[in-house]
């Protein structure tokens, strides 16, 4: 073969090789990777508190092993939330169900301001309002709502003027957590006006039935959310009715009835939970959610409450500090002088040592009760209190709130009702058990004769200076304890048109402050005839 031909063949070979190396060799297509294994359920934990009622301190306890701790109280409950958040396997949402700050002297004084600030630090997601959250008036609620870094949700309270939920609240929110849209609806207690001491002020609102509201709002929320949570102060009974009548609610986080649901109650497909009261427990409901269907596939069935004990709580120091200051300020306030008495506020006793009849400390209390008037109520004709409810004397001189609280320690609240003259006589006949007369009165007077048989001892009854007429209706200011028929006083249970008012001790404190110096002498309101 000649050299040129060899070169030509070599070139051809080279060309062929070059072409082969640049032409991609067809390779079989990469097999489609198998679809990724779906992620397991997403766990979202709902932590909740309800009815903490201003309990800024828990109960001091000692365990069998000597551990000293505080049980319950807002600081410990908030610290328990902080700890549970750290321990949670996934995202967490935190709710409060209302009746938050009214219930103790220190918290009442603070009007919930510091508690809301503490909840901001802990990171609540939403709250609804309980009936007692309105006890200090709407302006206080508005102020707390403005300070909260979480929304106040309350779909069933509308302003009469606008028929809209007040501007400081929302009916619901939608919150995306872990890729799941949670619709959170708030329901306040529709019966609030019937039992509130602020009945007149609350007339600017219409409180709508909780069930009716849930039915109305749910479709709108379902359109925007995968899972629906109702934060409800309606009470355990109403929550069950709502769950049965309004399908489509996944969870109802409840309050008002102070029930400790260690096992959630399931009605239909709705999980109902509630965490007791006073910060003694934090509710912990773990929802396992299928990320594909975005439905709840499992949830906590047992141990849905975690006891709040201080030795296991992770309360941030700043929360402890701020709430401790409120407690200290409250203690200092109870020691402040609010007025003065010109006489010893003492009690009178039977020979066997039971308080009886008319005496200065008793007259002070019922005079204050008669002076007070629940907003929106007509003035009372008379006031009645039982003797056993007055527990100490106060000597002549300065009066502090602390001394009044020792005198009236039972947390009774003012209760106004209509009673007829005949019913009032029946009450006085029961009171005149002889030798003891177990009643304190203001605005009226009567005589009793222990020589007569029971039921026939009372006479000369006068109300506002006029003889008592059996069929006439009188407005009576008394206390909730007597309204239950306490001390055997069953005629009170027949009263009509009840209105509940302020705690009696607060009423007496206000009366002393306004009318100081006081001089509640014995003046013959209750006279024994022989």
């Amino acid at each position: 073969m000649s050299k040129p031909i060899i070169v030509l063949i070599a070139c051809l070979v080279l060309i062929l090789v070059a072409c082969a190396s640049t032409t991609p060799t067809p390779v079989p297509p990469t097999p489609t990777p198998p679809p990724p294994t779906p992620a397991g359920p997403l766990t979202v934990t709902l932590l909740h508190t309800n009815d903490m009622h201003g309990y800024l301190e828990g109960e001091k306890m000692k365990g069998g092993d000597g551990t000293v701790f505080e049980f319950g109280g807002i600081p410990t409950a908030l610290g328990t939330i902080a700890r549970l958040r750290q321990e949670a396997p996934g995202p967490v949402m935190v709710f409060d169900v209302g009746d938050l700050w009214v219930g103790t002297f220190a918290s009442n004084r603070d009007q919930g301001k510091t508690t809301i600030a503490a909840m901001n630090l802990i990171g609540y997601d939403a709250m609804t309002l309980g009936n007692h959250d309105f006890d200090q008036g709407v302006d206080v609620v508005k102020a707390r709502a403005a300070e909260a870094k979480f929304p106040i949700l309350i779909a069933n309270i509308v302003e009469v003027a606008s028929n809209q939920v007040p501007g400081w609240a929302k009916p619901y929110i939608v919150k995306e957590v872990g890729g799941i849209r949670f619709g959170i609806i708030g329901l306040g207690y529709a019966g609030t006006p019937a039992i509130s001491s602020k009945v007149k002020e609350l007339q600017v609102f219409k409180f709508v039935d909780e069930l009716e509201t849930a039915k109305r709002v749910l479709p709108e929320v379902k359109g925007k959310a995968d899972i629906v949570v109702v934060v409800s102060h309606a009470g355990f009974d109403r929550d069950q009715l709502i769950a049965a009548a309004v399908p489509g609610i996944d969870v109802i986080v409840g309050g008002h009835t102070h029930a400790e649901l260690r096992q959630p109650k399931v009605v239909g497909n709705t999980i109902i939970v509630q965490a007791g009261a006073k910060g003694q427990a934090v509710g912990k409901l773990e929802l396992k959610i299928d990320p594909a269907t975005k439905k709840v596939v499992d949830y906590t069935k047992n141990n849905a409450l975690v006891s709040a004990v201080s030795n296991k709580a992770a309360t941030p120091p700043e929360v402890t500090e701020m709430l401790t200051k409120v407690i200290a300020d409250g203690r200092a306030a109870t020691a402040r002088v609010i007025g003065e008495t010109q006489i010893d506020l003492t009690r009178a006793y039977t020979a066997d040592g039971r308080s009886t009849g008319e005496y200065p400390s008793g007259n002070l209390v019922v005079d204050a009760m008669l002076w007070a008037n629940q907003a929106g109520d007509k003035p009372a004709d008379l006031a009645m209190h039982n003797n056993a409810g007055i527990r100490t004397d106060i000597p002549k001189g300065p009066i502090t709130y602390g001394k009044l609280y020792e005198m009236l320690p039972f947390d009774n609240v003012l209760t106004a009702m209509d009673l007829t003259g005949a019913q009032i006589k029946a009450i006085l006949e029961i009171a005149a058990s002889c030798p003891r007369v177990n009643t304190l009165i203001a605005g009226m007077s009567f005589a009793y004769d222990c020589s007569k048989p029971g039921g026939q001892r009372v006479s000369k009854m006068m109300i506002r200076g006029k003889p008592v007429e059996p069929d006439k209706v009188y407005r009576v200011q008394t206390i909730d304890y007597l309204a239950t028929g306490g001390d055997g006083q069953t005629p009170f249970k027949e009263g009509k048109h009840l209105i509940y008012g302020e705690p009696v001790v607060d009423v007496v404190a206000a009366y002393v402050a306004k009318n100081s110096p006081v001089n509640p002498k014995v003046e013959g309101r209750i006279v024994e005839t022989k």
């Binding site: 328990t80 019966g191 009974d237 006891s307 309204a483 306490g486 009840l498």
Partner: protein, 80 residues
């Protein structure tokens, strides 16, 4: 103004009370003190423990039972 009476059952015994009253009004002062000092419990029909200041509802059933107060603190720790 609501003056409705509700019926609450305490240890299955009916008790008519004004709407708006609380568990402590239904069970009385003596039992209330016992519950507060952990010498007794009050539970609903489902066995849930109820706080004495809880609101009452019509038809509610409350059951009172004595309790050993010495166990309370340890139970609280166990459930924490």
């Amino acid at each position: 103004m609501k003056t409705e009476k509700i019926t609450v059952y305490v240890n299955d015994k009916p008790n008519k009370l004004f709407f708006g009253l609380r568990v402590k009004h239904a069970i009385g002062a003596r039992w209330t003190q016992r519950v507060k000092t952990h010498h007794a419990t009050v539970r609903d029909a489902d066995g849930n423990s109820i706080d004495v200041d809880g609101a009452l509802y019509d038809g509610e059933r409350l059951y009172l039972a004595p309790m050993n107060p010495k166990m309370f603190a340890d139970e609280a720790q166990k459930r924490a």
